[in-house]
């Protein structure tokens, strides 16, 4: 059985570990920050670049590159925005960091701010985490009282304030420019890029870094152990550890932290999570949050992939796929936010998609046409299907609607709502075609609603 490597979740669920400052300091907390402020900011940025850290929010964008893109010559202040709007269905990692180890994140924030000369950081936390917001406020107050946050930290001339801002319950606020709009007090309509890249025109039209909670925690560990040492964890181009949140039809759902790429999907589901429920078989898995394309058990993936500088043949069954950014992208899905949603053979895929479509139709911000109209249309189609009026051609129609959304919207929500439909219909097309007949066969005496 593959061993977990708990870097970020080192203290999560540890008996006796509490989320106050005293406990964090007892465990060696803020030592990294103390060492960091004695170094040159550029060195710290360099460590992060060397580490190869990729963002843990969903897109997997290299963190060091993101920082390099910052417009540092504008003369405007640089902001750090912490994306704690963890809303992707199937994802529940940031909330444990916030609830059980908030100081780890605050230390990561302060190191990041020092490295990038940020004087103000905002933690944008989703509205559904009131307890998390309360814990963060208390932790920041503690850190401030201990001269770890605020003006002139740790006896240096450097100071930085952290503010907590609660969202109002909208998935789109996890999109970085939507989040920035919301933080500015507006409707969270994502901005058009170009020209509004956060690194240049972000919060209040100033250069802004938007990083995920888990990503910032990794920054702390990178600076503690050095970028090169961190880069040795995991696999090339997929460095470090990653928290995988497994939910659905496995014996032991939960969160597990592994070196990226050192565990395969099969190992994760069968060995770590204990396999399917008794008498059931795995049917499908969504590997990176509900917007990732679904994978079907029994599929095989063949082709060439890059390992280091060489091109190597691969021939994988679904269970053989390593859980890293590149491998999941290679087989047509994504690592996304690390939310692994497992479905066994009790699940009807039309009904599962109806659930996902209802979510995305509810969460579309409504700014741009394809997503606004398409997401609701897809919801209406799958809703009609499961309510007894399915047509054999609905699968093809769903796919066509999704095709009209993906790649044509202002933000990535277009893909997020189109990919499930595209992949469900593509991989489980027969279920969509035969849905009406199957339902009728399952309950031949059911009364037909007119």
């Amino acid at each position: 059985m593959p061993e977990q490597r708990r870097l970020i979740f080192q203290h999560i669920d540890e008996p006796g570990y509490s989320n106050d400052l005293a406990c964090y300091l007892r465990s060696g907390g803020y030592e990294t920050l103390k060492k960091a402020v004695a170094r040159k900011p550029e060195e710290l940025i360099d460590e992060v670049k060397k580490s190869g850290l990729r963002g843990r929010g969903g897109a997997g964008f290299p963190c060091g590159v993101k920082w390099t893109l910052l417009d540092r010559k504008s003369g405007k202040p640089i902001y750090l925005v912490v994306n704690a709007d963890e809303s992707e269905p199937g994802t529940f990692k940031d909330r444990y960091i916030i609830h059980q180890d908030p100081h780890q994140m605050i230390e990561g924030i302060m190191i990041t701010c020092f490295a990038n000369n940020v004087k103000q950081a905002y933690i944008y936390i989703r509205g559904e985490f009131p307890e998390g917001a309360r814990i963060l406020e208390r932790a920041i107050a503690e850190a401030r009282a201990a001269n770890l946050v605020g003006p002139g930290i740790l006896g240096t001339a450097y100071g930085c304030e952290i503010y907590v801002h609660r969202g109002a319950g909208a998935y789109i606020c996890g999109e970085e420019t939507g989040l920035i709009e919301s933080l500015e007090g507006k409707r969270p309509y994502p901005r058009i890029k170009p020209p509004y890249f956060p690194a240049v025109l972000g919060l209040y039209q100033c250069p802004t870094i938007v990083n995920n909670v888990e990503t910032l925690c990794h920054v702390k560990h990178i600076v503690a152990m050095g970028g090169e040492a961190y880069a040795k964890i995991g696999t090339p181009n997929n460095t470090g550890t990653r928290i995988l949140c497994v939910s659905g039809h496995v014996q032991r759902p939960g969160y597990y932290e592994f070196e990226v790429g050192k565990v395969t999907l099969g190992q994760l589901l069968h060995e770590v999570c204990g396999g399917p429920r008794p008498g059931r078989k795995f049917k499908a898995v969504i590997p990176g949050g509900s917007s990732a394309k679904v994978l079907k058990f029994g599929e095989r993936y063949k082709g060439k992939r890059k390992v280091g500088v060489e091109m190597v043949d691969y021939d994988w069954g679904l269970e053989d796929v390593p859980m890293d950014f590149d491998s999941l992208a290679l087989i047509g899905s994504m690592g996304g936010s690390g939310g692994v949603i497992v479905m066994d053979d009790s699940v009807n895929m039309v009904e599962a998609l109806a659930n996902i479509n209802a979510f995305y139709a509810h969460e579309s911000c409504g700014q741009c046409t394809p997503c606004r109209e398409g997401s609701l249309w897809m919801k209406k189609i799958t809703g009609r299907m499961v309510h007894g009026d399915a047509r054999p051609e609905d699968g093809a129609l769903l796919k066509s609607v999704a095709d009209q959304i993906a790649g044509r919207t202002i933000c990535a929500f277009g893909e997020a709502c189109a990919w499930p439909t595209q992949s469900f219909v593509q991989k489980f097309g027969d279920e969509f075609k035969g849905y009406a007949a199957a339902k009728k066969a399952a309950a031949p005496d059911a009364i037909e609603l007119v």
Partner: protein
Amino acid sequence: MIAPPQPELITVNIDGRPIAVPKGTNVIEAAKLAGVDVPHYCYHPKLSIVGNCRMCLVEMGMPAVDPATKTPVMDPATGKQKINWMPRPTIGCATNASPGLHIRTTSPMVKECREGVMEFLLINHPLDCPICDQAGECKLQEQATGYGRGYSRFIEDKNVKPKRTQLGSRVTLDDERCILCSRCIRFCKEVAKDDVLGFTDRGSHSTLTCYPGKKLENNYSLNTVDICPVGALTSTDFRFKMRVWFLKQTDSIDAESSVGANTVVWSREGVIYRITPRQNDAVNDTWMADSGRILYQAVRSPERLAEPTVDGVASTPDMAVNAAGKLLVAGATAVVGSGRSSVEEQFLTKRLADAVGASAHLVGRVGEGDRLLISADRNPNVRGALVVGLIKELPPARLDGLAAAIDAGQVKTVVSVGEDLAAAGLTAAQLAKVSVIFLGTHRNATSAAARVVLPGLTVFEKNGSFVNQQFRIQRFAAAVPGPAGATDDFQLLAKLTAAAGGAAPAADLRSLWSLMAAAVPALVTLRHHTIPDTGLLLDGTPWAGLAFAERETLHYQPAK
């Protein structure tokens, strides 16, 4: 005249055709210059860019350059530089032309994108075109015809939204028709500076509304109706009155103030139904004030003067002119011209004054400007009176000089060209001391006191020109005929001059302009029909020393 700075031109390629466009032009405007239509809804040239409708998606490419050698990569098949086409479509509104930019607007991908967006916009649209005011001038109709699939695949229930929300007293919203382009929101925020509109709810259930406790009541609210690409925002006044394709469009000028916003008057069978702005990027962009849109209501007012009278008795135009002529021949006359008259009428007013040796006066109207399209000078054409020499100084608000002359017995006859002398400060006693000849459109204290009343035409019923605050001469044309019994003012003035024994000036616009051009230095090369549709700047330096009342408005800075 100083030549405007020439914009830097760059070459872009649209559908295979190279075209030079000013740097920074976006793809929609660049395509327009190339004669290519890029359909769009949310983009408006005078508003900020939001890129939300996704109708202007095009394919974009850049010439390939070898990153190592920085030399162009050639395509062996064509012998030309290879173009790297982006895999995803991009919006034309937010893409600025850069040197070498290649755009495809007719590729299968673009066609499919447009069909997709059209289908999405229509699935929850009520398609109540037969009762929709926008029908005939609806972007959704036009582009559905031009770029849609022509059939619907939507069999679900459409969204239901409010059908008649009163956003303000003049604007009614049909929310089901709204395509959420946000033009109206941006207009209120950016142009009218009255941030009252926004969306509530989300996704396809998003609803346009006013902020809590606010109303869309600013004097520019009806511009939201003009820029609404669909029939969502409707004019409460025009709603359900007339199909737009029956209406005749006549170019006109807003006579509310010296801004001279360019307008279109929409009429059918002699009746005006609405007034909308006409684009003039040097004057009013694409906007006009709500207050200017209801001016047509004066045309069919019950107070309208419709028959000439002499001493209160109905007469004919010729008899009334003859009666007036007799009064004028007696001498001791004063002429009160108007800053609301056209340049042509002011020229003839001066001719008349000169012919009878009368003093010429003008009534000033100074109010408060709104810094946008209503200036402090509420006369549309004071500068016209300066140009033709009717006055030398800016007019006072009250005719105190004339009052004193009447009291002193120096004036026995007063000709008023449309001005209410009582409102301009003459007392009833003073009016009783003189014989008043009134040329005008509506009944007032002066027409009641006048010995001769000659009904004239409103700005909507005649041809002429105004000189606005920028010294820009702009034409307006007759949209509808005047009431029976009314005569074109410039003909009345010409006839009066003749009746008073002066040389009869020309009685048609063309010969009048020959006469004016000869007499007025500023107009020497000009004719009425050669004034461009967007007007022509005259040289205002001879009057630069005058203390004009106007403060800053759109496209106007007062001289220091």
